[in-house]
C-alpha cells in the first residue's frame, strides 16, 4: 500500500514540478488569441509564415475579441499571448486595463474589412431592404407615429413594414449576443436604421453636447438610452439565435427558404450556389461594394501586438511583415481569396509603415 501512495505522490509532485519549470522556459512559437472573425485570416498568414520561413507556425486560438483582449492584457509574462485579433477596435477600458497590468506599448494593425451579409436561400424571394426596414423588423421596440414614443414591435410579416416586401413571416437567423458579428450587426445595420428617426439621432447629438460641456453622467445616460433603443433585438421568436457556427445558418437557410440569415461575407462567398445576399439600401453585397464602402454593413478588422514580446519570442516581426505584405493583404493577396476586403492602397502603405515600425498605440 505504501508503494502506491509513494508512486502517486511522486507522480503528482513531478507533474507539478514539470509544469512550473515549463512556464519559466521561453516560448519558441508565437501565441495568438482573439476574434473568431479574424481567425480564418490570421491562420492563413500563420501557415504561410511557417511554410515560407521554415520556423514554427504560430498557435492561433479563437477566443472571441473580448476574450482575447482579456488574455492579452493580463500581463507581460511569456505565458501571456503576443498578439490578439479583434473584429472591433480596442476599447478604452481594455486599453486602460492593459496599461494597469504593465502592457504599455501596444501596436495596432488594421488589416482590412469584413462585410456582414444578410442572405436568404436561392429558392426564396429576392429581398431589397433598407436599414430602416431591417431595424423595424428586428428591434425590440420601434418608434410609433408620435415622435419620442416607443411601442413593442408590432410587425410580424415583412409586408407589414413595407407593402412592397414579400408576404412572409419575419424570421431572421443570426449569431448570439456573445458574438462580435452580432455587435457589429447591431451597430452598423440596426443603429444605421434607427438613426433615420431624427428624434433618436437627436439623443446621440445631445449626448455629444453633454460630453463636450463636461456633464459625463448625462452623456453616458443618453448614450445608454439610444443604444438600448437601437441595439435591442426582439425576443419574440422573429430573431432566432442560431449559434456561432455560420455553416449551420447556411444549412438552415437552405432548408427554410422563407428565412433570412446574418453571417460573415466569406460564408456567402463560398456558398453562392445556395444562398444569395440581400440588397441593403440599394447596394448588392459583393467584394467591390464592401471595398469602396458603398455596402453599409462592413467593419474593420484588427490585430494588436505586445511590443515588449518582440525580441523575446522569435518571429513576431517577421509575422507582422508577412501579414502586412502585398502578397497577403494586398488587392491580389491570398487573404482576399479567403474573403478579406483589403484597405485602400494609401491606408495599406501607412498601416504597414506603422506596424513594421512597431509604433505604439495612443488612446
Amino acid at each position: 500500500m505504501k508503494n502506491i501512495y509513494k508512486s502517486t505522490a511522486v507522480i503528482i509532485a513531478s507533474s507539478a514540478i514539470m509544469s512550473i519549470s515549463n512556464s519559466v522556459v521561453a516560448r519558441d512559437y508565437i501565441d495568438v488569441v482573439g476574434s473568431s472573425t479574424v481567425y480564418p485570416f490570421a491562420t492563413v498568414v500563420a501557415e504561410t509564415f511557417g511554410k515560407k520561413t521554415g520556423s514554427k507556425t504560430p498557435k492561433i486560438e479563437s477566443t472571441g475579441s473580448g476574450g482575447g483582449m482579456k488574455l492579452f492584457c493580463a500581463g507581460n509574462g511569456i505565458s501571456t499571448p503576443d498578439i490578439t485579433n479583434a473584429s472591433r477596435r480596442i476599447k478604452l477600458s481594455e486599453y486602460n486595463k492593459c496599461q494597469k497590468n504593465g502592457v504599455k506599448d501596444i501596436v495596432e494593425v488594421m488589416i482590412g474589412f469584413d462585410g456582414i451579409a444578410i442572405a436568404n436561400s436561392k429558392q426564396g424571394p429576392t429581398f431589397d431592404l433598407t436599414r430602416r426596414e431591417l431595424f423595424l423588423a428586428l428591434a425590440k421596440q420601434v418608434p410609433s407615429n408620435q415622435a419620442g414614443e416607443l411601442i413593442d414591435n408590432p410587425y410580424t410579416k415583412w409586408n407589414d413594414i413595407n407593402p412592397a416586401l414579400p408576404n412572409t413571416k419575419i424570421e431572421v437567423l443570426g449569431p448570439p449576443p456573445t458574438s462580435g458579428t452580432r455587435d457589429a450587426f447591431a451597430e452598423l445595420a440596426l443603429q444605421g436604421g434607427c438613426f433615420t428617426y431624427d428624434w433618436i439621432k437627436q439623443i446621440k447629438k445631445d449626448s455629444k453636447i453633454a460630453k463636450k460641456s463636461g456633464d459625463k453622467s448625462l452623456a453616458s445616460q443618453l448614450k445608454k438610452k439610444y443604444k438600448t433603443i437601437c441595439h435591442s433585438i426582439r425576443e419574440d421568436g422573429s430573431y432566432v439565435e442560431a449559434g456561432e457556427n455560420d455553416n449551420l445558418i447556411v444549412e438552415k437557410l437552405r432548408a427554410n427558404p422563407k428565412a433570412l440569415g446574418v453571417f460573415g461575407f466569406s460564408f456567402l462567398d463560398q456558398n453562392s450556389d445556395v444562398v444569395k445576399g440581400v440588397v441593403i439600401d440599394g447596394v448588392k453585397i459583393d467584394f467591390e461594394a464592401i471595398a469602396d464602402g458603398s455596402y453599409p454593413i462592413s467593419r474593420p478588422l484588427y490585430f494588436y501586438v505586445k511590443k515588449s514580446h518582440v525580441g523575446k519570442v522569435p518571429g513576431i516581426k517577421e509575422f507582422i511583415a508577412e501579414f502586412t505584405s502585398e502578397d497577403a493583404w494586398g488587392e491580389d493577396g491570398y487573404l482576399t481569396d479567403k474573403g478579406l476586403i483589403p484597405l485602400s492602397d494609401d491606408a495599406r502603405q501607412k498601416m504597414s509603415d506603422s506596424a513594421n515600425g512597431l509604433t505604439p498605440l495612443k488612446m
Binding site: 502517486t8 509544469s19 512550473i20 473568431s36 501557415e47 463560398q270 450556389d273
Partner: protein, 427 residues
C-alpha cells in the same frame, strides 16, 4: 367453483397474450427507432466523408528556370530555400494556357493549383538541384474548388454566377481532363499532414498525435490514482464511517458533473495557480484526468466488489496479510473489470471537446506536437474547427475526421469487450 375460475382465466387469457405482444412490439419499435437513428447518422457521415479519402492531383509541366527563380550560377542553400518558386509555377501555368487575359483570369489560373505546390517544388528542387534549368512533369495538389468539381460537387448546369468555377475555368479543367492531367488518388496527405487553412492540404496527423499524447498523460495519471482510490475505498476504508460515505457520495456526484466544469477547474487551478502552459497535451491530460477519475473509481470498485468474499477469506485464513490478500488475489481477479472501466473512461475522454475549450486547446496548430509541452489540439476539436470553416471542401473532411474518430472509439470499446470476454471469471 373451479370450473368458474378456469372460465375467468380463459376469458382473460387473450387479453394477457395481447398485453405481452404489445409490450414486445413497443420494445422492438424502440430498438428499430434507435437503429434507424444510428444508421441514418452513420450513412450520412459516410456518404459525406468518403470522398475526402480521395484527392485530386494536377499535372504541370514545370520549367524550372534559374532566371525566374532569381538564382545566379552560384547559390547558397539559403538562397535556394528563398528562391521565387511561385513565379516558376505561375509562368508554367501561363505556358500551358496561353492567351489568359485580365487580372481576374490570371488570378483564377493560379488558383488551379494548391498553394502547397510552391513548397512542394521548393523541396523537390532542394533535394535534386540538378533539375534547375530543366523541364519537369510534376504532380501537385489541386485547389479545393477543382477538387470539389472533380468529386461532382459543382453542377455545370447552374448559371455561372452561382458556381464557384466560372465558365472559363471549366474550359481549363476540361482541357486538363482531356490531357489526362487531372487524377484522383488516395488522399495520403489526409493522414500525413496537420491542420491547414487550405482544405486540400489539411490532414489529421497533428490532431491524432495530440490526442495520443493527451491520452497518454490522462492514462498515466488517472489509472494509478483511480485504481488506488478504488482499492482503498473498497478494501481498506473503515465501513460505516461518515467521512468515507461523504467521499463516496461526492465521487458518484462528480461522475455526473458536466465536463465543461472540469475545464473551468483546470483553467483556474492548473493554469492560474500552477502556471501550466495553455494549449498543450499536459494540461489537456490533467483536465481529462479529473474527468475520467470518477468513472475509473466507480467501475474499479464495482469490479473489486464482484470478487467473492470467499477468496479474501481463504487468503486471510491461510495467513496472508490484508495487503497480500488484496494485491495477490483480489486485484488480479478484478483486473479485467478494472481495465474495461479504464478503457471506457479513456474512450469518453478521447471524444471530449468541452473542457478543452477553456484551456486553449481549441486552436489552429499547423505543426505536429513533439512532446507533451508543445501546443496541440485533439481529434474532436479538429472536427469542431473544420465544421466552422467557410470553405466547402472542409465539409467532407469534417465527416472523414468523424469517421476516423469513430473508428478509434469502436476499436477501444471492442478492446474492452474482448478483454472482458477473455479474462472474465465466473465464480
Amino acid at each position: 367453483m373451479t370450473g368458474n375460475t378456469t372460465e375467468i382465466i380463459k376469458l382473460k387469457l387473450a387479453k394477457r397474450y395481447a398485453k405481452e405482444k404489445r409490450f414486445k412490439l413497443y420494445g422492438i419499435s424502440a430498438i428499430a427507432v434507435s437503429i434507424a437513428f444510428l444508421l441514418s447518422l452513420l450513412i450520412n457521415i459516410s456518404v459525406t466523408g468518403l470522398p475526402a479519402f480521395q484527392q485530386t492531383y494536377i499535372n504541370i509541366e514545370v520549367d524550372i528556370d534559374s532566371k525566374l527563380l532569381k538564382l545566379d550560377s552560384q547559390y547558397s542553400e539559403q538562397e535556394l530555400f528563398r528562391a521565387n518558386y511561385s513565379k516558376v509555377i505561375k509562368q508554367s501555368l501561363k505556358t500551358m494556357f496561353p492567351g489568359v487575359k485580365g487580372r481576374k483570369q490570371k488570378r483564377a489560373l493560379r488558383q488551379l493549383v494548391s498553394k502547397s505546390a510552391i513548397y512542394q517544388l521548393r523541396d523537390f528542387v532542394i533535394d535534386n538541384p540538378s533539375v534547375i534549368n530543366t523541364r519537369q512533369s510534376l504532380w501537385f495538389l489541386a485547389r479545393d474548388d477543382v477538387d470539389v468539381f472533380m468529386k461532382g460537387g459543382i453542377d455545370r448546369s447552374l448559371p455561372e454566377s452561382d458556381r464557384r468555377l466560372k465558365d472559363f475555368q471549366l474550359v481549363w479543367v476540361d482541357k486538363l481532363l482531356a490531357e489526362n492531367r487531372l487524377e484522383k488518388r488516395f488522399n495520403v496527405s489526409f493522414f500525413t499532414e496537420s491542420d491547414s487553412r487550405e482544405p486540400e492540404q489539411a490532414g489529421i496527423k497533428g490532431a491524432m498525435i495530440g490526442s495520443l499524447l493527451t491520452m497518454l498523460v490522462t492514462m498515466l495519471l488517472s489509472f494509478p490514482i483511480g485504481v488506488s482510490a478504488a482499492i482503498y475505498l473498497e478494501e481498506f476504508a473503515p465501513k460505516n464511517n461518515k467521512w468515507v460515505d461523504l467521499i463516496e457520495i461526492n465521487i458518484n456526484n462528480l461522475a455526473a458533473v458536466p465536463s465543461i466544469v472540469f475545464g473551468l477547474l483546470g483553467l483556474a487551478v492548473f493554469i492560474g495557480l500552477f502556471g501550466v502552459p495553455r494549449s498543450v497535451p499536459l494540461i489537456g491530460g490533467l483536465v481529462l484526468t479529473l474527468m475520467t477519475l470518477p468513472t475509473i473509481i466507480i467501475t474499479s470498485r464495482a469490479a473489486l466488489k464482484a470478487v467473492p468474499p470467499s477468496i479474501r477469506e481463504a487468503a486471510l485464513g491461510l495467513g496472508a496479510s490484508r495487503v497480500q490478500t488484496t494485491f495477490h488475489h483480489v486485484v488480479p481477479a478484478a483486473m479485467p473489470g478494472i481495465l474495461t472501466g479504464t478503457i471506457i473512461g479513456m474512450a469518453q475522454a478521447l471524444g471530449e471537446t468541452a473542457p478543452l475549450l477553456m484551456i486553449g486547446m481549441v486552436a489552429f496548430i499547423a505543426d505536429v506536437p513533439q512532446g507533451i509541452t508543445d501546443p496541440s489540439t485533439v481529434l474532436p476539436v479538429q472536427i469542431y474547427l473544420w465544421s466552422d470553416s467557410p470553405e466547402r471542401a472542409f465539409t467532407e473532411r469534417t465527416s472523414a475526421a468523424i469517421m476516423v474518430l469513430l473508428g478509434f472509439l469502436i476499436v477501444m470499446n471492442f478492446l474492452a469487450v474482448i478483454m472482458r470476454k477473455k479474462f472474465e471469471k465466473k465464480w
